[in-house]
Symmetry: C2
Subunit: 393 residues, 2 copies
Amino acid sequence: MKINQNYSRLEESYLFSTIAQKVSAFQTDHPKTEIIRLGIGDVTLPLCSAVVQELHKAVEEMGHKDTFHGYGPEQGYPFLKASIRGHYAVRGVHLDPDEIFVSDGAKSDLGNILDLFDVDNTVLIPDPVYPVYVDTNLMAGRKIVYLDANQENGFLPMPDEQVKADLIYLCSPNNPTGAVYTKEQLKQWVDYAAYCGAVILFDAAYEAFVQEDDLPRSIYEIDGAKECAIEFCSFSKTAGFTGTRCGYTVVPMALQREGMSLNHMWLRRQTTKFNGVPYIVQKGAAAVFQEEGMQQIRKNIAYYQHNAKVIADTLTGLGIWYTGGKNSPYIWLKCPHEMKSWEFFDWLLQEAHVVGTPGAGFGKNGEGFFRLTSFGDQDKTAEAMQRIQKLLK
Amino acid sequence: MKINQNYSRLEESYLFSTIAQKVSAFQTDHPKTEIIRLGIGDVTLPLCSAVVQELHKAVEEMGHKDTFHGYGPEQGYPFLKASIRGHYAVRGVHLDPDEIFVSDGAKSDLGNILDLFDVDNTVLIPDPVYPVYVDTNLMAGRKIVYLDANQENGFLPMPDEQVKADLIYLCSPNNPTGAVYTKEQLKQWVDYAAYCGAVILFDAAYEAFVQEDDLPRSIYEIDGAKECAIEFCSFSKTAGFTGTRCGYTVVPMALQREGMSLNHMWLRRQTTKFNGVPYIVQKGAAAVFQEEGMQQIRKNIAYYQHNAKVIADTLTGLGIWYTGGKNSPYIWLKCPHEMKSWEFFDWLLQEAHVVGTPGAGFGKNGEGFFRLTSFGDQDKTAEAMQRIQKLLK
């Protein structure tokens, strides 16, 4: 019996547990102080009423023999795939229903997609980044090449033809930096992938936060992307589904490597190792793309966008460098007074009772930076920014 | 870019698609004939009212800011883990809450658990068997040794010390044969695993159908199993959750290999590649183990068990050899008149308009056998058996 020894080489991530310990220790020492949390990327607004209504209806269906649903198609019900297809069509992206796979969230599929690729591939991953890209590849023992994202490139690294990669992770709008690639920039990535024969794994989980019309919300808005990219998306941030679990992955028919269709490989993977998303949840998700649901989720996104603006405006006023905030729920700022990430974390907690996420937790290039999220309560976010302004002005 | 070439070596499974085509062709030729389907292992009774009520409550909670649930723990909410723990305690199996992982179904975890093991392991898989065990290992390129299950051993193969394995799949009550291991038999498997240093992957998805008190429903009823076995279970057949998606996997703390805790490895795998089961679904699942829910699901299981008895009694009356039916929703019969599996399938469809599953679809030892399921409607199941009796007596 041999275990997968790559697991023994994984480093434990103490980022969020260390944050929790520090916050808890501070609260114990200062029981009357109100701490405001702008650290974790979880939503706080409830599901919108159009979704709640559909969920209730679907629950009722499941309780009666003639409307009960047993096993559904592993790749998702046609009604939800049709809604997702419509969502793409609005932006001029035409997908075949068989190119859409409904999932229980982008995180699962971003990890599981690696089943399709040999261990002997070189993976290009930006730094700083959502830690899941790195850990899932370390678990499989793949070689990782990091791509420096930094203040100089606005945390939007571009391809280097000297470096050759087989798999490329791109996340736009980015977690944690909030930076968004333009169409021209993504075109360079698509061209580079075509040149290398690489596959881009495009994480579009935050696409709903893009406000500027000329910024791409899907990589398939770029010519040639269907021949080289898989896109991962989610209802988590779009419609507050972090605890409801639904997403979707697009694997185009045009995406072929070594004579195999990656679409057929993924279909085979999912029909073998997955049994679909709950019928109830899929009905709720479909409501998101109906007129009423769409209006309601836009209102929720606007609520978070308002928070992002309050944070961004405060930082602008203080002359602090940052990315994100406008087309993203995240604001990534340079720690003032040349502080290191954890130093600023401690200082902000002690002096303003505000919790954020130290950038160093997302990779070496995150050192000296800090992430704030717009997913909190509006009043509390405004108060947090007043405290920060008072502290730093 | 190298794809995972193991996928190109997978054989397409045409079992259920061939069945669907044959049934559809027959129906087109005989539009007025009522076909009765006893082929697919999907439930037909709706969710019980205790579950429906909890689902509605949870949906309501998700619609209000003060009761909304965002990201939950990847390994499941404590309230559901406590219910599952209680379910095991009834049978004298004591688990630590951290040994229980709530999943979106046994199928997902049975596939994903393989992440923890090196490719260079020998896998022992009974034949015939649920096809997922074979396909998930072929996808990873592992060496498979088949274990002959046949009429001679009552489709309950026992270990052979001459054959050495690293991973061992056991499914009891078995899919497709319905055969159930006794405690003494499982003890031999646990001893063999200890001798080999192997890990048993125990699929207990049908444990709720065990009626005889002295038959084990969990491998942890066997001394020593916590040192060598992972158990997969599901609400799918227990509570009709095939379309609602919830299961659980037990990885004991005592299970260590090469100095690593498989429990910690699985926790790391799940926190990295999974984001938990919907809060709503977990609330519904917890209702299954409450008094009212337990009474209701027992009634549903009794409904299917009645079907199984009707099928079994008919076969007994006809002098046809079979396994299963009493402690399992499946009945595995020897095709009459020395017919081959597909030959009997065609004959039964043509002459009795009854659909079952050809045993040959589950492995070479399935040839000449046939699976009937008890998950259908009671009246239709009774009529199907009357037709079969008339045809075969």
